[in-house]
Structures are given as structure tokens and as C-alpha cells.
Symmetry: D2
Subunit: 366 residues, 4 copies
């Protein structure tokens, strides 16, 4: 049994990890770390867990990384930016594995981090930054297997990258024309008591935010830059517009993505714009064996309701011959594949378990 | 492996059965019966099931009870009132077990049925009516074990009865003072394309309906009447007010119940009104061993979010010394414990399996 | 032009007053009092007001009652409990009129206040308490006309009292059997940044709260007690159960009320239970001339969507001959008739204007 | 008093016209046309209108255009595609004015209509098509003044065009790079009893639809093509991607738009990319006098909650120097400025009234 600790267990992502692991046959949460609720029963803070947690573990404890490292085989940190990098040491990583749901170890480039995370300090320890593996399972599976420190991707990021990756990798689109318009449920904003997240402020409204400045932008740009290596690129970041929107629902992210098609040379020497079947082939090349990615048939588009509560990413697309663009859309549950589910998937990879353990729940509808 | 057929598989309750059984280790849906969608892939109608159903079963078929009876070990009928009783025969029950989610076999008293279900024909075959067992698992477990035909209770009914049962059974309240004010999510209204269930009609509104005439009333009155037998009563129906309300959410029922306390005689001969501890004791007597009923501590009240997606019923209460009443509240997921979950629980009882198989999902929050 | 000041202008109720007065031909807000936002443009805090407020008034100012009393003909205080009574003086009332949306002057009985508002100090100045008029317009219109200090009723209270008043006043129900089960949208909880009011906590859930202890209870009990005077009663408080529920919508309150019918003596000397027409007659006696109360025809029930954004209270009822009870339901918009609208109605009465000025907006649907 | 008839009065847009005109000092609905509800009281179908409509008019009548033309000074047709063009004659237009909320007279180009509205017949009478004026008030005000037949724009269209118009007209963006990602509340789908619009299907989900094929696309392309004339263009249609999304709210449209900046030549002869102040200047040139368009300050973005229930369009933008694009966003209430409000605005223009009559309601929040 893998002994699991969670720092930030009483946030939405932390609690989602706890919920998923209730159904995991080989892992058990033994440490519910929570500063704000230390001393209280976890199942009193999250009433859905009532009667479901073994009495001896059902208590929120003041998080203490070195202590947890001794007690736990793996620690999930669902914490504010800067927290983990301020505390993590090589010693801790000798005792335990760490899967970080914050942005501390996602961006390799220190300058890029500084530019986008203005005023949010992180400890830029080069050794740890270099050691950290970006935990986008379907793309980086092999590197994750041997990691000690996993930087779990952001929710917008996971959805945005997975939706465009094969087309960038195969050179079917011009990556610098990529425009990502994303819509997110409100749980992505966390459980903090903030006025903009009140029911009456969110309900019956939609708004863009972080336009041209959202921090998930460089993460997408860096990772899709790597994708270019598949088709002879140098791996340098691409340049995109990314606009998130808040919509009145709890879970779910939908990313609608637009890019200009790039002419490709056929074996015959002729150059043509990719058509639907070439696009589909590219998706299938990367995802046909992926349990958690469902490529939708032509004419069917992702809807967040079909993935809610599950670790799936649904992807659909259409070629627009009028504008010579492809329109793609991806949908996932921001708390599962966009956070806790992918974190558990990363844990499974780290411990050489089947990737789907604890993640087999069918999406819940309605 | 238990071979399962569902009639009405593309309704919300039918699809919920299908979803729960995906996680059941000893049962498998082999027949997705659906008149409206016959010939279509089930996973195309319910996109959440995409990739999750074995290819050969993933097709909606025209339901045919006698045929299904041969193919299936158990049939769930999630069908309109009158459907099952118009088709069911003893021969069918010799070949299979039937768990009916409609009201056809719930009310034993033919006159009561006629009075409340005006204009909705059912076949009042006395033998089948008498054979049918009311499938409220926690109350009728023993009778269910040997049944062939289970009348699965309604969603309001399950919640309303479970919340009041111990207090009626122990004689702590005057049952004829019982007033039940229930609030339901919209999935209870089914998947029919009806104007009152449109998003814009339901959202941002709350309304009572079926006031003094809702059909779940006599079901509650009959079953709580039986409860009186525990304390020397004759089992005749009680007389209540039941008012359902539609509220803008998908899943969940909350029943708030009010009743006047009844004086009880202490061993000392003194007569007193029951206090909180006596009420709690009554609940514990009936429910302390029940896996799917969670009695909440004093001061904690049920909220539907804590049971969503699960088979739990949460129950809380307070004694009001000012008015000499007890206020009780119960919450459950109308599609799970209020329909499909209880149906699966009944199936487990019928097949002598652990009751919780397929029903261990933790509630999903947020 | 009546010069209006609002203390607490950036709360939901305060802002609603401001919004209603935009459409009032004889009143104008000249002082937007707000501690939290002092110095900021009001129309930046509430973006719906952009371009709608005269430049010179469009600024949130630190509230200062004596100062405002000189500047304003009337002051609305939409403030926390205890605020107004801590500051109000006879001098202020010599300069201005005050309409208080808090509970400071609602309960006449000091002991009752202490019992229900434990730990929430108010200044129990007997002269001011005695001077204050309970501003339930349809009931207390005459007293309000000459008042200087109006205690604007609570939202639950307005709805609960108006729904039952005629039946209590006419002696058609036994008031001590009255049970009020109320459902409220979330704006009633105010604009404070509190975790329980976050979108993800409120949405897709329903919960009771303040069961047996909610502070609107004694307000209802006191006012319905006065109603008994119409039928020879002594005006002492009645004794009820009142249970509020939070539901996932922004605006709206629905109160479902249950009471046992009381036998009445006909002119013939015969005693009978009141039937539907007698109940209707009672409602019409009190409300047929009331512009803001809509008595619904038999079989039609109030729904909050039909009153949203308006000052209406819709009322419906049914007699249940089985249980000898009447079930009533009332619906209103908690921010309008339940707060700001009634406050403006009170202002109109105070200034001898037509009651409907500024309140003629039709309900907004969908 | 302008005598108004509405065909399709019981649809959401038709009822919204009726609601707005309740507050209009110079117009009155005298004919509530509704096929489905003919013979029923309008205020029984839309309970919000109870007590608000003069008795003699409060009845849904079978619509009959020639008859209505005699009775009414203006007719609003909120009807399915093809309805009006199948019935309209020059004789009718001699008796009355017609404001059509359907798409029958929006697209001038018959071939374009056929291509996008496949299978939806309209009568392509060239005289009427040529006479009809596209009723985008802020752009076509002068033409509307003298019209008899106004083609009221679609909801997505109004929002999309107004948001981009000044930048296209001033040549600040390359119009063929324009990508419009729109999010709409559910009332835009109408009041038909269709499964995809049920509460449980819409709530807690977001989905794109009509991707690359939505019928508002050519309307936007045609109208923004005209805009090019301001900067020397030929008025030929532009070519865009337009993707609508359904989100779980009732009212509101948000259009997020992306376009590449186009170099402009300064008086100095230097060519530069437009910066924020040049963009703002363009917006102000077109909109600074417009009562119903609110250009937001830098850093403030439109949110549909701030326009709900009003005739406003809020517009914000940001220049992204990294990608050399401008990101714009516009928000409006799809039933008001996106349908009924603009229709009333058009009526005011047709009758030479102040444009804002009946449209002065402040947005309702929360």
C-alpha cells in the first residue's frame, strides 16, 4: 500500500485527490495536510467523506514536509505558488516522491517565470528545476517513470496542449497562428473566500480574464514548442494568444483552438493543405492507444458534461476550407485530468502501476 | 456474471443504472432497451459512456420483455407508469427477476392507486400486486431476499420515509402531524422534452407543484403506516401533507419534515416529551448498522452536495422545545438512492451479494 | 427631488436601492455610503451602473450619519445588525428620515431580541424603539405615513407574514400550528466574501440552516401576533416553526406555509371548516386593492421567476380536506419586496408619493 | 400611442418585446399573436405579466398579418425562418411597418442565403429583399429612419459586429484574420421543448456548436465587409471563423474576438502597428455618442452580468504586442440588444422618437 500525504488537502484539488484515492486499490491517504483546518476532522470539512475515512487518519494536520517525507511514499502538494520551492530539499526527495500541483517547477526558463509570475517568488534552485519532470502523462510518460519530482500541469494547460499537440508535432498547423479560447468552471479558482467567486457574482455571467497575461500561456508555449521537435523543429517556444473565461458551472474546461493549416508535401511531391483525414490520422498516431483521450467522430464536439468526474479528455475538430484553418476543441474535468486525476495518473506511473488505477470512474451525467 | 437488461435505458434513471453497473464486479448490462433510440449506439446517446461499453452490447434495442427474460438474469424497468403491469406475466418471472422503478407495484391498495393515479391505467393483477415487494432496502431487506418482483420506491418516498421511519416506529411523534416539505433537483422530472423542464424555465426559480395531490403521498402514507406496527399500531396508513418543490439543480432531494412530539412513558412511570438523546437513540436503533445511512451529529444538517453521485442518505434533526416539534431533514441523490442506486442495492440483495457492490463511489464534490 | 443617502450602498440590498431609484422620478441618490469602497467610483464597483450615475455623485463615501442627515432628506441603512442603533440620535431624526434595513428596530421586545440575537449588541434606546414603525407597507401603511424611523422588514419575514396574515387575522387557521418552510436565493446572504457562499459551495445543492433558531422567527411571531387583534385576539406573539433553506439561485424567496384550519361559525350557527372560497375571500378582503400583491387563481402556485426584479408578492393556496390544513405559498424577490423595493415603497409613503413610484418594473423573465 | 402587434409573442424574444413596451410611454401592444397559445391569456402563459396587461388586450390571438396590418402601426415578427417572407406583401407594408427578428431579410445575397440556410426556404422576393434595411441601429441609423421593413440583426451578429466594426472601418486590423469565439446563454435557443435545452442537459456543461457552419457567420461577414468602405474597401464580405458556445445561463452573449493588427502609416510617413490609444480612438470615433455602447477603460473587460436586462453593449480590448494581435470582447443581453431591445430601438427610429424610450432600464444585478 502506497502511503500518501497531501499538502493542501482541504482545497478543491487536494480533496479531489483524496476522493480519487478512496477508490485506489494500492494507495491510501495517511496525512491530510491543511494549515487552515489543522486539528479538525477532514470529513467534517468535506461532508461527502463522512464515514469513508479510517478514523485514525481522519484529521487535518499542520503540514511539515520533512516529517511527511518520512511518513509517506509520495506527497501531493496542492499549494499556492512559491510554497513548495521554498521548502523542498534534496533530502526530502531522498525519502519520498513529490507531485506538485502548483506552478513552481513547470517553467524551466527562469526569465520566463519572472516575466509572467511578477511578484510571486519561487526558489529557482537550478538543480531541482532541472530534475523536475513536466507531468503531462500522455506526452512525457517515459521521463515521469524515473522522476522523483513531478510538476503536474495546470488545468488549462493540459487541455490546451493535448488538443493541439499532434497537429503541432506533425507540422500540420502553423503554431504561431494558434489562438486558444478557453472556458472554465469555477472550481478552478479554488476554495478561497474571495468576492469574485461568490455564487451571485459568478452565476448568470461569463467573463474573460487575464487576457494576454494569463500565466498558463508560457506553459503552453513551452510545451508546444517541444512538440515541434517531432517535425524537425528546434523546440523553442511558440507564440500564442490564450484567453480564459469564467463560466457559471463547477467543473469542466473547454478549450476551443484555432490555427491556420500548413501546407504539407505529399509523397507525390504535390503540396496540399491537410484535409480532415490527415488531421485525424495525426490525432490517432498519438492518441489511439491512450485510455484517457477520446477522439470524437466527425461532427461530434466535446461537451464538458460528458467528462465530468472522470479523467478523460475528449477532442474534436473540423477543417474549415473557407478560411484554411482547423478548429479544434478539447474538454476535460479541471479537477480530475486538469489536476487531481492527472496527479494520481502520475503517481501510478511513478510506482509502475497500471495508469488507470483509481481513475476508472465513468463520467457522471446528469 | 449477472446478465442485466434495462428497459428505458436512455432515461436518466436507466442510464444511471448502466453507469453504476460499469463499476459492479459481478453484473453486466447486456441489453440496453430503448424505444426512442432503438438502433443507435447507447454511447452516442450518452456521450459519457463513450469507449466504456463493450462493442457488442453498445446498441439500443427495442425492448421485448419475454425475449429479455430469456437473455437476462434481471431486468430493470425504468418506464412510464402502466408499462410493466401491462406486459408482466408469471412466465416472465419464472425466467428472470424484475426490479421496477415505476409506480406500478408500489401501492398495494387498488382503490388508493385509482384515487391518486387518475387516468393512468395499470393492470391490477392481484397475484402480482401481492407478490411484489416494496424495495426500500433498509426496511424490507428480508422480504426482498426472496422476491422475484421488486417495486423500487420513488425518490421523494425513499427520502421521506427513511427520515421519519424510526420516530414513527418508536412512537416518538404523532404521525398524523407529519408535514413533509421536499425539494428536488430537475433530473427527477426525467429526460422528456417538456417545456417546464427547459433550462430557462427551471433556472433561477423555485416552485411547489402537485400540492396536496402528489402521487408519492399515498406511498409514504402506506409505508409509514406499516412502521407503526413496531410500536403496537395496526399498520393502517397515516395522513400527511407532502409538498414537492422543483429547484434549479440537477441531482438531489432534500426532505424537511415536521412532526409534533408524542409523550412517552419512562420506566419510572413519568411521561415526558422525547428529548434529543431519545430521538437520536431511535435513529441509531434502526440505522447504526446501515452502510448507506449517515446520521449526522447535532447541529449538522444534510446538504445534497454531500451525497451527490452516491447511494447515501444523510439525516439530521433538531428538537424544538418551544413548539414541541421535531424537525428532521434527509438528503439523497434522487438518481442513486432515489432510483438507480437503490435498484442496484435491491439487485444485490436478490442475488445474495454484498449490498454495496457497485455502490461504493464517494459523493462527488464540488 | 428627494435627496437620498445610502449607508451600505455596495452591499446587494444597498445597490438595489440605488438601482431602483435610477428609475424614480422624484428621488435621487446623492450619497453612496460605503466603508469598504470609500473613494472608489460606485459604478466601478457595480459595473451595471456604468454611465448611469451623474459624475458628481459617482463616488463611494465614508458614511457619516450626522453629516448625511444634513445632506439628505432620507437615509437608507443597509448595514450590519447593531450599526444604526449605535449611532442614531434624536437629532439625526430631526434632520432626516431613516429607513433601516437591518434588524435593529424590528423587535419591540428587548428580551426577545436578546434571546434570538445572542452576542449581537444593539442599543436598546426605548424611545427610539418605541418610535420606530415596522415597515410592512401593506399592513402598517397608516403608521408609516407619519414615521421618522422605519424598521424595514426582513426578506423571509415579509414573505412569510404577507402569505399568512389574512388567515390569521380572520381566524381561519390556528396560528400556533403554522409551519413555514422557506427557500431563498443566495443574494440574501449578502456580498461578504464568505466560503459558504462561493459558487461551488452553493451550486448544485440545497440545505436548511438556522433550524429552530433563525432570527426572522420572532419577527414573524410578533407581527402575526398583532394580526390576531383583527379577530379579537390580544396581539401576543404566536409560536411557529420557521426553516429557511439556501438554494442555488440569485434572487427569490418562496415560503411554503402549513396550518390547521380552524372551525368558524356560519351566520346559520353551524360550525364548519373554512373551504376554498372562504379562504379566498379573506385574502381578497386584505389584498384586493394592493398593487404589489397578486393573489393567484386556484391551481396556480407562485414561482419566484414570475416576480424576479419586481416588487410583487405572489400568493397561492390550497385547502387539503384530507388533513384539514391549508397550504399557502408566497413568492417575492428578496432584494426588491424583501429589501430595497419595500424600502423605496416606505420612502414613497413617508413622502406622501404614489407608492409605486420607482417600482413599476415588470418582473424579468427568463 | 403607437399600436403594436407581435407575431410570436409567446417566444422569449416576443415576450421580451412585450415586457419592454410595458415601460414605453408612447407604444402599446394591442395584438399578442401566438399560434401555439391562441385563445389563452398572455399573462397566464407568462406569469410575470399577471395584472400588468390591460384586460382587453390580454389574450393570445391567431396571427394574421393582413388583419394585423390594419390594426397595428408596427408589427414585430419573432418567428421561425421563412415565415415572414412567405406572407409579406407590398400591401401589408403600405398599412404598417414591419420589424422582423428572423433571418428572412438579413442576407442580401440570395446565393449566400441558400448556401448557409440549406433546406430552409424563404421567399427571395428581390424587391422586398432590396427594400429591407439591416437594423443595426448604431451603424445604419439613417437608412432605418425611412424604412418600412427592418431586418433586425441576430444576437451573435449584433455583438460580433459592434465589437469589431470600428477597427475594420478604420483599417486597424486585417479583417480576414478575424476569429470570433462567442458564448451564449440558453434563452437564445428559444422556448421550444427540445431535449438539448433541458435544464439537466445544459447545466454544468459548455459546448461549441455549429462550428464552421453557424448561420450568423455570413451575416457578420457581409456587414463587416460594408465596414471596409470607410477605409477605401469595396464592401465585399470578409472571411471569418465564428464559433458559438452554449453556456449554462439564461441571458447574455459574450463575443471574444481576435485579429492581427494592420500597419498604419503615420502623418510622419512612418508605418507602425496600432497601439492601444489608436485603437481606443477608433472606438471613440464611432461610439462616443452612442447611448447604448459603453467602451470600457483599459484593463476592464465586459461581463454579461453588467448588461443583463438592459440594451447596453459593453466593449473592452487589449493589444498584445507579443503576437501583434488585438483581443476584443463585447457583451450584451441576447434578448435585449440582441433581439427585443434593438427591435424597440428600431421602432423608435422608425417613428422618430428618442431612441432610448422603453430602453432605460438599468442592468439588473445580481
Amino acid at each position: 500500500m502506497i502511503r500518501v500525504g497531501i499538502v493542501g488537502a482541504t482545497g478543491y484539488a487536494g480533496a479531489e485527490i483524496a476522493g480519487l484515492l478512496l477508490g485506489h486499490p494500492q494507495a491510501e491517504v495517511v496525512f491530510y495536510g491543511s494549515k487552515s483546518y489543522a486539528g479538525q476532522k477532514f470529513s467534517a470539512v468535506y461532508g461527502n467523506f463522512r464515514n469513508l475515512i479510517e478514523e485514525k487518519y481522519d484529521i487535518c494536520r499542520e503540514p511539515d514536509l520533512p516529517e511527511m517525507a518520512k511518513e509517506c511514499d509520495v506527497i501531493f502538494t496542492a499549494t499556492p505558488q512559491g510554497y513548495l520551492s521554498g521548502l523542498l530539499t534534496p533530502e526530502i526527495l531522498e525519502n519520498t516522491k513529490v507531485i506538485d500541483l502548483s506552478a513552481d517547477y513547470r517553467l524551466k526558463d527562469i526569465e520566463v517565470y519572472k516575466q509572467w509570475y511578477k511578484g510571486i517568488e519561487r526558489n529557482d534552485d537550478p538543480a531541482l528545476l532541472s530534475e523536475a519532470v513536466y507531468g503531462l502523462c500522455e506526452i512525457n510518460r517515459e521521463d515521469i517513470q524515473n522522476a522523483r519530482l513531478v510538476a503536474n500541469p495546470g488545468c488549462f494547460t493540459t487541455c490546451s496542449i493535448l488538443t493541439a499537440y499532434p497537429l503541432v508535432a506533425e507540422g500540420l498547423i502553423d503554431p504561431d497562428t494558434l489562438i486558444i479560447d478557453a472556458k472554465s468552471g469555477t472550481s478552478g479558482a479554488g476554495r478561497g473566500a474571495k468576492l469574485p467567486n461568490l455564487f451571485c457574482e459568478v452565476n448568470e455571467s461569463v467573463k474573460p480574464y487575464g487576457v494576454t497575461t494569463h500565466r498558463h500561456t508560457p506553459e503552453i508555449e513551452e510545451q508546444l514548442g517541444y512538440a515541434k521537435r517531432h517535425c524537425g523543429g528546434d523546440g523553442s517556444p511558440i507564440l500564442i494568444n490564450f484567453t480564459p473565461h469564467l463560466i457559471p458551472m463547477q467543473r469542466g474546461i473547454l478549450a476551443t483552438e484555432y490555427a491556420s493549416l500548413r501546407k504539407v508535401t505529399l509523397p507525390t511531391g504535390k503540396t496540399v493543405l491537410p484535409d480532415e483525414s490527415m488531421i485525424r490520422e495525426a490525432y490517432e498516431k498519438y492518441y489511439s492507444e491512450e485510455k484517457f483521450i477520446r477522439l470524437l467522430p466527425a461532427g461530434v464536439w466535446p461537451e464538458t458534461r460528458w467528462v465530468e468526474g472522470s479523467n478523460f479528455t475528449d477532442i474534436g475538430f473540423a477543417v474549415d476550407p473557407r478560411t484554411k484553418r482547423v478548429v479544434m476543441a478539447g474538454a476535460l474535468d479541471n479537477l480530475v485530468k486538469g489536476a487531481a486525476g492527472q496527479a494520481v495518473q502520475n503517481m501510478n506511473i511513478l510506482f509502475a502501476l497500471p495508469e488507470y488505477l483509481g481513475l476508472e470512474k465513468a463520467p457522471l451525467f446528469p
